[in-house]
Symmetry: C2
Subunit: 195 residues, 2 copies
């Protein structure tokens, strides 16, 4: 479990800010392999009522917008266990304990696609879902990526690789084959996805 | 649990497509209040190996990009249980069983903010996380929204409301206070968030 310190900036005084919720107690929930459930007892400052809320303790994630020298996007196609269908996404995965997000991004790009890249730039990060995840997903841009290495797929992966030009990326988005929120969040920083 | 039929379009022949994973069995996991865990036993077609994967059965969600007649964005500020801090987001929530996503969007906007709007348009949908969620999040645009109704907050909510102009929205994103992936996914369809 690796999570960097990632408190957002304090809000300016002009912005209405509700109270923080006092934490009364915290209880272990089931281990779900990719995250661990925790139950927090909190007080709602608006009502004074005590509430039990589920938090999924989740390591940070990363994903990579990788362009070839011809400005084609490196994509992965794989069976996804949530919708039980094949999706089109960009490479990404879990940041290991103690690993920097850029190192994880380089590793995931290589392991999933065999591509490496000389130029890397941070595209920022998002909360995958602040309602119950406590992690961040870091977006990285890799430029001039080329297939120089060997893929190394996890036992839980069966990945097909392709590169797409901008119109083909937009076709994947329009078709519903590429609509993972974290993929959209990364890509929309560098491409117009709905031209 | 409401999930609409939402199969993406079949891929064109030119796109490399791995095999679907045969489902061997499926087993109930713990009820986590906001979703229900399920364990699927699947065969990885690449290796022939059997694997157990966690799926969180989750109802569909919606969120709303609501603009006032002055083109100010209606935002909600609330304590979020994942990062345990106050975030800036757009209104949204769970689509009830049998409820259309537009009706849910209208209801969530009213309940969380007291705003109603005469003009509504779909902004598409995303998979919140295809790795383990089986649901979609539907994005809606509401225009000429005005504070005409009464808010009706859930026991689990303590929401402060504000409206922001485009520069103020970008400041919220840049500060890290507004970085929920589903909020970014909705907003980037109608605004330049990183000008």
């Amino acid at each position: 479990m690796t999570r960097t310190d990632h408190a957002p900036e304090a809000a300016p005084a002009a912005l209405p800010t509700p109270e923080l919720w006092p934490l009364l107690s915290s209880e272990r929930g089931p281990d779900l392999t990719i995250f661990r459930a925790r139950y927090d007892m909190l007080t709602n400052p608006r009502t004074g009522e005590e509430l039990r809320r589920t938090v999924l303790e989740t390591p940070d994630w990363c994903n990579v917008v990788a362009f070839t020298p011809e400005r084609r996007l490196v994509i992965v196609r794989q069976f996804r266990f949530g919708p039980a269908c094949i999706t089109t996404e960009i490479p990404g995965g879990v940041i290991d304990a103690g690993e920097a997000s850029e190192d994880a991004a380089r590793r995931e790009l290589l392991e999933e696609t065999g591509y490496t890249a000389p130029r890397w730039r941070s595209l920022g990060c998002v909360e995958p879902n602040s309602a119950f995840h406590d992690n961040l997903c870091f977006h990285w841009l890799a430029e001039d990526a080329e297939p120089t290495g060997d893929t190394c797929q996890d036992p839980g992966e069966d990945i097909a690789i392709a590169t797409l030009d901008a119109d083909e990326v937009r076709a994947e988005v329009a078709s519903g084959r590429m609509r993972h929120s974290l993929v959209i969040s990364a890509l929309c920083r560098v491409m117009d996805l709905w031209e």
